[in-house]
């Protein structure tokens, strides 16, 4: 029985003379990650990792900021009835509360926006829906952050 009679299979014989030599090499096995032209480009980069990490870290900080905020505003010192223009003006006279509120604004807005971004990514089925929803989300986020920051820095208690 000759082993050279079945070269069509492309598999060399287990024993005996080899089908292949240096001049006649075995066919290459296609690389396992070979992809077609239609395959979407891979989008490596650390954005998703940074976003994931930001969610965890900002979440921890927000627990302190938001619970502290709610406690001060709604529970301590007579509760919600004390809140008025004068109360807010008094708080923002101190840089500590300015920084607290600014940090809360930025972290909460970015945390919420990133959360909604992942929700849109997971649930929007058509690319167009995704584009519009995200456009709306980013516009609203930027507007709120800028407006809030502007108010915190330019707040004037002597307004009439």
């Amino acid at each position: 029985m000759s082993t050279t009679e079945s070269p069509a299979s492309g598999i060399g014989p287990v024993e005996g003379a080899s089908l292949y030599s240096a001049d006649n090499p075995a066919p290459l096995i296609e690389a396992p990650r070979a992809r077609t032209k239609k395959t979407p480009k891979s989008t490596r980069g650390n954005f998703e990792m940074v976003a994931w990490l930001f969610m965890r870290l900002s979440g921890v900080v927000l627990v302190v900021l938001v619970l502290g905020h709610l406690l001060i505003q709604l529970v301590l010192d007579g509760g919600v009835s004390k809140i008025g223009f004068a109360f807010v003006a008094g708080r923002w006279a101190s840089p500590f509360w300015q920084v607290w509120d600014l940090l809360m604004l930025w972290l909460a807005m970015l945390h919420g926006a990133n959360g909604l971004r992942t929700v849109i990514n997971d649930y929007a089925e058509r690319p167009n829906t995704r584009l519009w929803l995200k456009g709306l989300l980013y516009t609203a986020t930027v507007f709120t952050i800028l407006l809030g920051t502007l108010v915190i820095f330019t707040f004037d208690p002597n307004i009439r």
Binding site: P32, R33, R35, P40, S42, T43, R44, G45, N46, F47, E48, M49, A51, W52, L53, T118, N121, D122, Y123, E125
Partner: protein
């Protein structure tokens, strides 16, 4: 033959046999035949069957005795080959490892193809996207020295233990097709691919862990995992899939910072 064989014929047992193990079970199977209709439909089959039998036995009974056109995959039929993953009573399981008595057989038992992959016929889906993601993580040993090794690549028992859990994967796709993120657009690598990357990333003999981590750092890589634990619930081998994904995430973060 010395082995005692239990006499079992497919039909109902003889009347008067008081302690008959057979019960009547309805199987509600999701049928799809692209040559007949564009939509999948439910079809009910009534069977007299021993509740200690498996769902796969019931499917065999349907295919061999009732409707030969029922199409499903199975090879070894003993929970090793991973070809008969399907959605049974709304949960991804292997038909060959699911006993009928565990499925409350007094109600109809639903059998559907796994979700998120294109159905070709009845319970058979196109597994190509699943295997593409698997191939993408390079599930094979990679070493930097190009010379043929002169001795065995040794490893301590602890080093082997590190990735023992993820070596159990049989590529049945029960986890990936139970993942809601995968259902959306199928671009997510999916739990199975990450589990098989984990198996090599944490193997002390392998030297391409960095490359694999870089692949999984993709937009559709590990960061799309929402830790819903569907994959861990679905795995017929009991692999702690979500834990493996979390370990890959941690490896990515500790590598950078």
């Amino acid at each position: 033959m010395a082995t005692p064989v239990m006499e079992k014929n497919g039909s109902a047992p003889e009347p008067g046999f008081a302690d008959s193990p057979y019960i009547t079970v309805t199987f509600r199977v999701r049928r799809f035949n692209p040559e007949v209709a564009a939509e999948a439909t439910w079809e009910d089959f009534q069977l007299e069957i021993d509740p200690k039998e498996r769902v796969l036995d019931a499917l065999h009974k349907i295919k061999w005795d009732l409707d030969g056109s029922l199409t499903f995959r199975r090879s070894c039929a003993h929970g090793i080959c991973g070809s008969d993953a399907m959605r049974i009573n709304g949960k991804n399981r292997l038909a060959c490892k699911t006993l009928i008595k565990d499925l409350s057989p007094e109600k109809p038992i639903t059998v559907e193809p796994i979700k998120g992959l294109t159905v070709l016929k009845d319970l058979v889906v196109d597994m190509e996207p699943f295997f593409q993601a698997y191939r993408d993580v390079m599930p094979f040993l990679i070493t930097k020295d190009t010379n043929e090794p002169t001795r065995e690549r040794l490893q301590t028992a602890e080093d082997r233990e590190r990735f023992d859990d993820t070596t159990k994967c049989i590529l049945c796709a029960a986890c990936t097709s139970s993942c809601p993120v995968f259902w959306n657009d199928g671009q997510y690598f999916g739990p199975a691919a990450i589990v098989n990357a984990h198996r090599f990333i944490f193997d002390s003999r392998d030297e391409a862990g960095e490359q694999r981590l870089e692949i999984l750092n993709d937009r559709d890589g590990v960061w799309r995992c929402r830790t819903t634990f569907n994959c861990t619930d679905a795995c017929p081998r009991g692999i702690e899939v979500t834990k493996a994904i979390a370990e890959v995430k941690r490896a990515l973060i500790t590598r950078r910072f």
